[in-house]
Symmetry: C2
């Protein structure tokens, strides 16, 4: 089984963190059956951390954890910070299959979403 971990920045405003957790819950039904579980983790300011989120997924029986950065730009967080956090989990579980896919803003399909919103007026 595969587990999908949606990784967001984390906010002091708890409603924003809850919005990400709710997104993970909504994603779960679409992700099934490719992913048996979808959860959220945060780079900072909210729980769980990225390593905790990964280890929790592994403890829940995941054979592979896919980390998906919920970020719009390839800044320091995406390029450096998230890989470092993922590496902490990999070091704790050397045999685990942990992969990080490209961040949301990198997807060409975001352009289609933007046009849908723009044309909504």
């Amino acid at each position: 089984m595969k587990s999908l971990l949606l990784v967001a920045h984390g906010s002091r405003r708890e409603a924003s963190n809850e919005e990400v957790r709710e997104l993970a819950r909504r994603l779960a039904s679409r992700a099934h059956p490719a992913f048996s579980e979808v959860s959220a983790a945060f780079l900072e300011l909210a729980e769980p951390s990225i390593p905790d989120g990964i280890v929790r997924a592994l403890d829940n029986g995941a054979e592979q954890v896919v980390v998906l950065p919920y970020f719009l730009s390839a800044g320091r967080h995406v390029v450096t910070d998230i890989p470092e956090e993922v590496q902490k989990a990999q070091s704790a579980r050397p045999d685990a299959d942990i992969r990080t896919v490209s961040y949301l803003g990198s997807a060409e399909a975001v352009l289609d979403v933007l046009m849908e919103l723009a044309n909504g007026t």
Copy 2:
């Protein structure tokens, strides 16, 4: 003619701002002919500001300016700050047709994009 203004937060890292401007350029070909122009503006830390971006679009001949917040969550920036900046332009140009559509993260289609990325492994 309509003009689309993609509004991002703005970053101290100029490459991130340029990434948003590049996104606006890529969006332009899809937006045509519904929108004759697509440009970028920033809430802070980069130029142009939101009011400047709106006024510039009007000066370029736009009969309607559509403001699209390139944000993932409905935090203070989306709820309060962007509307305040848009209002500045509206006050400067009381007769102008300026509309703000919903922010990127609000679109249900973002879920599809996330699943495409997740399945890319």
